[in-house]
Symmetry: C2
Subunit: 431 residues, 2 copies
């Protein structure tokens, strides 16, 4: 297995910010280190669609000249579907080659305002759908990194960056994180402004964060959410975990189910209550409901944006548009209504369950670069708008990452991050 | 005082939906009743900028022909800055006279999907800023209804509609609700998609709901929020209310302070703990911080949208753009950072305080139609993204509404609605 993963030497964003605050590093140092690491691996992983050394170093110098800021020392990658005023934004499409937005997306503006440095734009599948990039999985270069946040996941996994921004409309943050063996966090829907983010399906599009540890997820989450006040009053500790194999949604590979059960046993050994959850009947059809909603909205968005040029997009994207354009509005609306009904059971479940554990994907990263993998295990959670994250605690015997997905039954992102930290501790501890 | 307010005969949306569900009414009946009430008052209040009887009745017939739906029987008004595919949307500006969006805004699509009927577009100040409409306050026709959701507030107060949609970037939901004597609810920032809503200042823009009772606010809120799952686990009952006169923010009229103290006494008499809150030092400058953020973002939005035609907008709007264009980016960013710091105290406050009570506006609705009133008492809460609402429980001796603003220290909209219901009961009960 040809890999570019090195032995965990890369520092976290939290450490790098502390190093800059205490004058042990400058932002230019960090930028040079990231560019150097990119230089080592980029010709093999192709994580970036725009990486301009001169722009980066000039920005880093400017940040160093300014005073202290909360994110000074953060170096991030930004998925190519998120607008940046200083770099082209092509939405993963040749139709937008060289397209230069006038303004930063809100989330990019926030990061820059707080002293963060954008290293470059990371490759996205075409319009964040399924047409792959040439990005390779750093763990095994013969495999896909997953999509659509392909470059963000690869750059973080390969140690070029501690953190990168992604977006999830189906499974585009959690799935590539699972395939590349890193953390991927999709907060609850509406957690932050999506202004300046390519609008694919407005009922579903959610910004997400990819990182190698939960402290870095928290750092970027807290700095960039646009609903400011914490929702922590009377916060309950993580006590009860419900395991949901969700084999109703697809053919989950045995290795994934084994990892899920291993996780369950380890948590039980550390004193958590673990229960097996039968899938609520209203949830069985959620993946196909999601697919219908996404296709309907995507068709509308792309048709509005591209007009007749919609015929020039790739066949795989055209298929989604075609499905969406032939879906009757009544069917679309019935799917949204079914999604609403599917959330009703959460009101009861959250009385006893603090967290769901379920597969992040059907299996390990597929071989080859033609197929970015099936997002089916993420579709329902995106449709319901719940906070979800990939936990990269397991590997196959061959060393390929297996992702376990944690999902919160309530939209309390900060409490969810607390839970993830505890899970990370327990899953990595000896039983 | 010339008023068009009649003696509370108008039914609530909840009642109208129940009447349709039990076949005591049809949607056409309700549409005719609303059109008839509009016919009685509209030439005096000018709440609507688009009200097409034929379109309304055809839509109502179509809804009647379809099966049962959760909002079947809801008749709403939609502020003119919110896109509607079946009616023109002019953003309160002559530059967009006759402008016809291709699609409904997400919130309108949701309401229609669930069986709701849009009666018409309600008048908005120019681009939801300060240039007034010719709308009059139904309580006293010589006074402004407030802005920018002028028509929505007037139509609801006059009994034309039980519910209307508004938007708040400074104080555009809570203030007109206060002046017109109705409920106005601005949920926490990001509670629902703003796609298809005129983007004025993306850090601040929030959709809101105007109604004559809290049950109707809840109905529309629950049906239209895009973050679905309830956040009710371990919900705490309303026990402690902090009264914040906020005279640091502006010259609050004595009648408003009297009402605030009367509210405080009544709640105490009913067993709630009421404390006087000194304004946290970080909050004193929030109104001017808000003004800077809004001007900076508004200038950018309008310049991008209008290009050189930005010179053709009204002088009052041009002033905001001019302020925004001469604000250095550093100052704008410092204001956003100050807003972030200002929310930090909430983490402590919410341990002891369940709700703030504070004035909705400096006084009663100003005389005349030239000035829609000062939004200063709402700016800080909008900037911090907290759920807030006007409670219309008080009147001056002359019968003019005095608004008390309830604000939640945490972003728990559903819990906040529970609190509002309790407050409504206690404030209307005999002491």
């Amino acid at each position: 297995m040809t890999t570019v993963i090195s032995s965990e030497s890369a520092r976290s964003a939290v450490e790098e910010i502390a190093a800059v605050a205490s004058r042990r590093s400058t932002v230019v140092d960090l930028a040079r280190a990231a560019l150097s690491r990119a230089g080592e691996v980029e010709d093999r992983i192709h994580a970036f669609c725009c990486l301009d050394e001169q722009v980066v170093l000039e920005s880093a110098e400017a940040i160093d000249r300014h005073g202290d800021k909360p994110l000074k020392g953060l170096v991030v990658g930004v998925k190519d579907v998120i607008d940046t005023a200083a770099m082209p934004t092509c939405y993963g499409s040749p139709l937008f080659a060289g397209h230069q937005p006038a303004h930063d997306a809100d989330i990019v503006a926030t990061i820059r305002r707080l002293g963060g440095l954008v290293l470059g734009k990371t490759s996205s599948t075409e319009f964040a759908m399924f047409e792959p990039t040439d990005t390779r999985n750093p763990v095994d270069l013969t495999r896909t990194p997953g999509g659509s946040s392909s470059g963000s996941a690869a750059a973080v996994a390969a140690g070029v960056l501690p953190v990168a921004l992604g977006t999830q409309t189906a499974g585009s943050v959690v799935r590539p994180a699972a395939y590349c063996g890193i953390y991927g966090f999709k907060p609850s829907r509406g957690w932050t402004s999506t202004q300046g983010v390519f609008p694919l399906a407005s009922s579903l599009d959610t910004l997400g964060i990819l990182a190698r540890n939960i402290g870095d997820l928290r750092l970027v989450y807290e700095a960039t959410r646009s609903s400011p006040p914490p929702m922590r009053r009377d916060r309950r500790e993580l006590r009860t975990v419900a395991v949901l194999p969700a084999t109703e949604w697809g053919e989950v590979e045995p290795e994934v189910l084994d990892a899920l059960h291993a996780a369950s046993r380890r948590l039980q050994a550390h004193g958590l209550a673990v229960m097996d959850l039968d899938m609520p009947p209203d949830w069985v059809a959620l993946p196909s409901r999601h697919e219908t909603v996404m296709a309907f909205e995507t068709a509308r968005c792309l048709r509005q944006l591209l007009g007749d040029r919609v015929t020039e997009i790739s066949p795989s994207s055209r298929n989604v548009v075609a499905k969406g354009e032939t879906t009757p509005r009544e069917e679309y609306e019935a799917c949204l209504e079914a999604a609403r009904r599917a959330t009703e059971v959460l009101g009861h479940l959250c009385q006893t369950v603090d967290l769901f554990l379920t597969p992040s994907a059907l299996g390990v990263a597929p071989s080859g670069l033609d197929f970015t993998g099936d997002p089916v295990m993420c579709r329902p959670w995106t449709l319901m708008g719940l906070p979800s994250a990939n936990l990269p605690s397991f590997r196959t015997d061959a060393g390929l990452p297996i992702g376990i997905q944690a999902v919160s039954p309530v939209c309390d992102d900060l409490g969810f991050l607390d839970d993830l930290e505890l899970l990370e501790d327990l899953l990595s501890a000896e039983a």
